[in-house]
């Protein structure tokens, strides 16, 4: 037993503070992303989540330029972008993808410019990779309280909105008939989504943040139809993928002779994708048994 444990965890794993920070942040973010993600998948707003993540690049590169922590850039730009999408008309199902796309295109254009400035004025081409692909091992311990605080805010928003949001996600018409203000609830939810995506971007990078948001939730919704169960399942899958990702990335140092860590983000994304594919197996199996 102890031998297999030693084989799984490379020496120094439990003593490293960067690993501690990565695990704490990963867990907190997985909880938030799993909760918000279930609603994102139910509402069919994966594109909005993905776009808000990508747009985080703009905020991250801007923050880098003026010398503040990337998290502030992520949060600020996500909120601005979410408001723009809401104004253009993300609430109509037909125009939704277009509204998202236009905002995304404009923001990415701006990101191109800011990253160019980063490279020109600060002489660090590495900014592009760090912002886009993130690294859990590079999170400074001092941002942990902020991340926890933002997570609590998001979770509080979602629990306050839980019932109207759920009804509005499943059937907007029914929700409107019951007197639920569908549009304000949707707008508040978009705000929560924006912050959740910014947190996910902090751990696995802006363009991969969707994986934590959508992946676990989609897998969970393949396994169960009950929202509360789905949220818990999504959180478990998210935490599992993050932890295993951190362990594998830490171990990967010894895998090749070149001796550098494979990115944590790669492992997390791959594990999440696998979880989604595996979650489809029970249904396939059931269908085959019924058929024959």
């Amino acid at each position: 037993m102890s031998q297999s444990v030693a084989a799984l965890f490379a020496p120094g794993f439990f003593d490293s503070t960067t690993v501690h920070t990565a695990l704490i942040v990963g867990t907190v973010v997985a909880i938030v992303a799993g909760t918000v993600g279930v609603f994102t998948v139910m509402r069919g707003q994966s594109f909005a989540g993905e776009a808000l993540g990508d747009i985080g690049t703009t905020g991250g590169s801007g923050a880098f330029l003026i010398g503040v922590g990337p998290l502030w850039g992520f949060v600020a730009i996500s909120i601005v972008a979410a408001s723009a999408m809401e104004l253009i008309g993300i609430q109509r199902p037909r125009g939704r993808d277009l509204a998202t796309g236009i905002v995304l295109g404009a923001a990415l254009g701006l990101a191109a410019l800011l990253l160019y400035f980063d490279a020109t004025y600060t002489n660090t081409t590495g900014a592009t990779v760090t912002i886009l692909f993130g690294s859990m091992f590079a999170i400074p311990g001092s941002t942990v309280p902020v991340i926890v605080l933002l997570s609590v805010i998001v979770l509080a928003m979602v629990s306050a909105l839980y019932r109207p949001l759920l009804l509005g996600s499943v059937s907007p018409e029914l929700a409107a008939a019951r007197g639920i203000p569908v549009r304000p609830v949707g707008a508040l939810y978009l705000l929560a989504l924006a912050i959740a995506v910014a947190l996910a971007a902090m751990t696995i990078g802006t363009i991969l943040s969707t994986a934590l948001l959508v992946g676990p939730a989609a897998a969970a919704l393949r396994l169960t139809r009950r929202p509360a169960t789905a949220i818990l399942t999504a959180i478990s899958i998210g935490i599992g993928a993050t932890w295993l990702g951190v362990v594998l990335a830490y171990d990967s140092y010894d895998w090749s002779s070149a001796h550098h860590h494979w990115p944590v983000s790669f492992f997390v994304v791959t594990l999440v994708f696998l979880a989604y594919l595996l979650a489809g197996v029970p249904r396939l199996w059931r269908a085959r048994r019924e058929r024959g």
Binding site: S46, L104, A112, S265, V269
Partner: protein
Amino acid sequence: MINAWTEATIVAVVAGVVGFFTVLRGSAFVAHAVPNGAFAGAAGASLIGVNTIIGLGVFSLFGALGIGVLGRRGRHDVVTALALVFMLGLGALFVTMSIEYAPEIYSLLFGEVLGISSTELAPTAALAVVCIAAVLVLYRPLMLSSVLAEAGEARGVSAFRMELCFLAVVALATTMTVPVVGTLLIFSLMIGAPAAARSFTDRPGPAIALSVTIALAIVWVAIALSYTTNYPVGFFVGTMSALCYALGRGWAAWRRRRSTRRGAPTAQIAAPGA
């Protein structure tokens, strides 16, 4: 410089045509996901030392078809998102494996049209011809299936098969355009120009022509500005696409207000850009 103009013109024509169908079908997400995921292909190709175009082509084609096939079972947007991030995850891995790569990543993601050499023109032009030819051949069934999927099915046009064909065309367009405007910005050209065009006219023929014209204008002005200011082309493409869309929406709103004031029938007013 001449190379940049030629290349960008080809790209704009293809983006305008393919983009029209993207907007019509509401497939903005796929149009974003395929080029973005193809980035991994480019990174992988440079890692093992083959031509970037091959990496881009393989990844965008497999990515697009994967989305099409998996999307049949699960929720389409979820599958798109997951396929995208999985490919990007691979991209992240390839990027870390090859060390001195940061400036190249930037140019893959955000484009570097001014650095195009004349040897790169031929493959782009060939792919563009294939792409446009495919759209011409598929024009009627694709149009029918995009607008009225049920009517298409009744006439024997399989919506699933059309979806796969369309995704393949997007993959082709991606392969040729990524080296020019980058994985992140081809998308804004493919959405912004056609969406703006559709605010001005509802008829498909003129809308496609207008969409190509707007895309051309955006790209030409972007290159000129980028050349004089030295700022990245992507910035100008992204900003101007959004600006064109805003103008289109403004025009549509203005026309609607004028026609309601005159008491004209409001039947033809479909939601602009929807």
